[in-house]
């Protein structure tokens, strides 16, 4: 579904991604871990099309299409979704109106008619329950004055509404209390199916107890330096990243 080949990207002249290779197939759950500043959010941004990143080398293919050629909106319409690490507040844009616009623009791209008001409301109700998203937040301005946890829940609620093929969750677990973490994870698990894939970026093994990954990757200094299964996350939790960095230096000095 998604193939990343030797991806290099920089921001403001600074090299951030230095040759990422990653293959994600339908139905898979990938976790990406790694120290602060290693480039996890940058990778997510490049995939979503944030334009202050310049791709200097490499390719990204999504369902046979060159993802890097598409505008951010077309990537979303093709089925890529990014749950932001820091969702922005947009005063004056109502959550509901925003979602309706997004949903209908995606539908129009696929040649589908706009959802009728009743269908839209029905869908909204259903998805709201999935992530236990308070209905009084729906009529408020987009993320304005939302608590950290409410913002994260809103990201997952949007994910549920827009129903993408590939969802990238950037530290959706940070800022969530234990109950919210359980609710959000179970929401994500309900959305999982054989056609959809997920990339969860996290610092905590705890999340991966709820959302069991098929693969765990370690990103360090703009590169994936190790890939394993869920046991790798446990090991990282115990040992931190230093042993990996050492391994890497040993390898590189050879």
């Amino acid at each position: 579904m998604l193939t990343i080949k030797n991806l290099h990207a920089e921001v403001e002249g600074k090299k951030i991604l230095k040759g990422i290779n990653l293959e994600i197939n339908k139905g898979e759950m990938h976790a990406i871990m790694g120290p602060n500043g290693s480039g996890k959010s940058s990778l997510a941004s490049v995939l979503a099309g944030r334009d202050n990143y310049t791709v200097t080398e490499g390719e990204v293919w999504f369902n046979g299409k060159n993802l890097l050629d598409l505008s951010p909106e077309d990537r979303a319409r093709e089925g890529v979704f990014l749950a932001f690490q820091y969702p922005v507040e947009i005063p004056g844009v109502s959550n509901l109106n925003f979602l309706k616009t997004a949903l209908n623009e995606i539908r129009a791209y696929k040649g589908l008619p706009a959802l009728e008001a009743r269908e839209f409301l029905k869908l909204t109700k259903e998805k709201q329950q999935l992530v236990d998203f308070h209905s009084n937040l729906m009529n408020r301005s987009l993320n304005e004055g939302f608590s950290g946890g409410e913002k994260k829940r809103n990201e997952i609620f949007q994910l549920a509404m827009l129903d993408p093929q590939l969802a990238i969750l950037d530290e959706t677990d940070s800022g969530l209390d234990i109950d919210a973490l359980r609710i959000v994870s179970s929401g994500v698990n309900k959305l999982r199916d054989a056609e959809k894939s997920f990339v969860v970026i996290t610092h905590y093994q705890r999340l991966l107890e709820y959302i069991i990954p098929d693969f765990v990757h370690v990103l360090y200094n703009g590169r994936i330096i190790k890939t394993g299964t869920k046991e790798l996350a446990l090991e990282l939790e115990e040992r931190g990243y230093d042993w990996l960095k050492e391994e890497l230096h040993l390898k590189e000095s050879v």
Binding site: A48, G49, R50, D51, N52, S71, P72, E73, R75, A76, R77, F81, L82, F84, P87, V88, I90, P91, G92, V93, N97, F98, T101, A102, L103, E105, I106, Y109, S141, Q158, L162
Partner: protein, 439 residues
């Protein structure tokens, strides 16, 4: 000014105003005639504003007056009802007043009736008590030469007086039709008086049906909001390409009164100047001046406001927001004068702009003159583009760039549109904004 151009009205204005004044007869009580004569003297002494006139530094009115050979137009030929209908606001349950070049069209109007309501042509009410007391009494008019010109040469307009305790059950929609067959300079004059505890909502719109004959309106509305009265006053400006306008609103407020003024200028008219001034003649008043201008092409919109805090314990809040597209130009001047006696004044002013066109430009200047020591006053100004973060967020959800911009402009203007207390008007303007942004 080039000599081979034919500029009958402009030349007459600068040469022989008295001859023009002789053409104007109504309304013709002695008191009115004497006020007109004085206004004419003042206008002659001041002359038309130039770029050297402080209040007109950024709006070259002379250029616009010389643009076409305007004739002074005082009368009105009949206009089909379908013309006023163009300004109708869907779903708005209201009374309707249709004026053609300032002249009331009774057959096209649905006037409010009942005890305490006086409404009709200015020419018919020149000796009404409200007229006698308040006509041309808002002293800010004295320093504005175009307002003096209006006083000297106006033909007619709309007079409204609500007696004490009279509360209108529906808004009055005043539709100004400006109709002419040659390029015309048209000067309506209105006076709206709300006596003690009265309340009303008045919405103004305008239509200029002709596309080849250009109409230049120089209108003046005086409003009086007496003790504990409340006036909601909306001005919707969606003029045509063949329309130019200088619109002066001069309000007087008395003790415990509330005045909410909205000026919404949308694309269309190349030149708009709004003079909005409020004199606070009583304490414990509330004033809200709200402005929204969304401009495109080579449009020039100048909002010139004056909050005159004469008495203590008054609150004023001024918020003007602009979205400037293409090569359009905005000017905002916010004068706040707090007199020495006006202790415990709260006067706030804010002007925020989105500069979206490559050559769009805004000139904004607060002018605070504060002579009292126990006051809270503030002003602020911003001019910027869309936040990139917000745009990316919206686009990452599948919303196209244009639709995202429309959402953002709606969001930017929401504190103005949200304050509109007539739902049909609010909805209408939101739709208009969305439509402008989608084109």
């Amino acid at each position: 000014m080039t000599s081979d151009m034919i500029l009958p009205f402009y030349q007459a204005l600068t040469a022989d105003v008295t001859a023009l004044a002789a053409q104007v007869t109504v309304p013709s009580t002695d008191a009115v005639q004497s006020i007109r004569r004085k206004a004419l003297e003042r206008f002659t002494a001041m002359g038309l504003p130039t770029l050297k006139t402080e209040a007109w530094r950024y709006s070259n009115i002379q250029r616009y007056l010389k643009e076409f050979p305007y004739e002074l137009l005082n009368n009105a030929a009949p206009v089909a009802p379908t013309v006023a209908q163009q300004a109708a606001i869907p779903e708005l349950d209201c009374y309707r007043v249709v004026l053609v070049n300032g002249h009331l069209q009774a057959d096209q109007s649905t006037l409010p009736e009942g005890k305490g309501i006086t409404i009709g042509a200015m020419s018919a009410y020149a000796d009404a008590p409200g007229f006698v007391t308040y006509f041309n009494q808002q002293h800010h008019l004295e320093t504005e030469s175009l307002a003096q010109l209006n006083t000297a040469l106006f033909a007619d307009g709309l007079y409204i007086e609500l007696a004490a305790n009279t509360v209108l059950d529906r808004p009055i929609h005043v539709i100004h039709v400006y109709s002419c067959t040659a390029h015309s300079f048209i000067q309506p004059r209105h006076l709206w008086v709300l006596n003690r505890n009265a309340a009303a909502t008045i919405i103004e719109s305008s239509v200029h049906p002709e596309t080849t004959a250009v109409a230049f309106a120089n209108s003046v509305v005086e409003t009086v909001v007496q003790e504990n009265a409340e006036l909601w006053h909306y001005c919707v400006q969606q003029g045509e390409d063949s329309f130019r306008e200088v619109s002066t609103t001069a309000a007087q407020q008395f003790k415990d009164s509330r005045y909410h003024h909205f000026s919404v200028t949308l694309p269309g008219t190349p030149f708009t100047r709004n003079n909005t001034s409020v004199a606070l003649n009583g304490s414990h008043t509330e004033t809200n001046l709200n402005g929204l201008y969304i401009t495109n092409k080579h449009q020039h919109v100048d909002n010139h406001t004056f909050m005159d805090h004469i008495m203590p314990d008054c609150n004023s809040n001024e918020l003007y927001k602009g979205v400037l597209l293409d090569d359009s130009n905005g000017v905002f001047t916010g004068k706040i004068l707090v007199h020495q006696e006006a202790q415990k004044t709260n006067a706030f002013q804010q002007n925020n702009n989105l500069l979206l066109g490559s050559k769009a430009d805004i000139n904004s200047q607060p002018q605070l003159e504060i002579y009292a020591d126990d006051v809270k006053c503030s002003h602020g100004f911003t001019a910027g583009q869309f936040s990139e973060e917000s745009m990316f967020y919206l686009r990452s959800r599948g919303i196209g760039e244009e639709a995202a911009k429309a959402l953002m402009v709606n969001a930017f203007s929401h504190d103005i549109t949200d304050a509109i207390h007539v739902p049909a008007l609010q909805h209408f303007l939101q739709e208009q904004i969305a439509e402008i942004m989608n084109n």
